[in-house]
Amino acid sequence: MGCDIVTVSTDTQFMHLAWQREEKDLADVRYSMAADTTGALAKTFGVYLDDAGLALRGTFLINPEGTLMHAEVDFLNMGRNIDELMRKFKANLYLAKKTDEGCPSKWKAEGDQTLAPSPEMVGRVHEALRK
């Protein structure tokens, strides 16, 4: 979908290699596993835990211009769900092409209804979503 996934932790690339080899659930990994050993990148994104030297479960989407388009942070014990992420990724990719539209909360994929804000729609979102 034109998006490169990069996983990031404060482990080294050697640890990433060992983990990927050992863990059966990672056998099909195609993404890059990045080593942020100083925590510098985690600090940039505000997910570095000083006391632990670890990163919180932050998910960030950056567009091809280098602009941060989506940011979400979960606590250490909260696993992320790919379906939850994909909706937001797809919506961001769609909105990058259709900058005058908005994706409503129920938007799931291209073809679903979007909203184009206008004076007529003020106070009439209910009607606009049921056209």
Binding site: S32, T59, I62
Partner: protein
Amino acid sequence: MRELQVGMSVPDFTLTTFEAESCNFGEVSLARQKEEGRWTCLFFYPADFTFV
């Protein structure tokens, strides 16, 4: 530096990577992603050998 917020420009970064597909070490750089016109998803997690 001002706290990074959605809508702001992400400062360039370069990190060493492990590329499972080629079983090699590599590099990811935001500058290169921008040159190639690609989206980047950064997926932070606390440590290897934990669940993601």
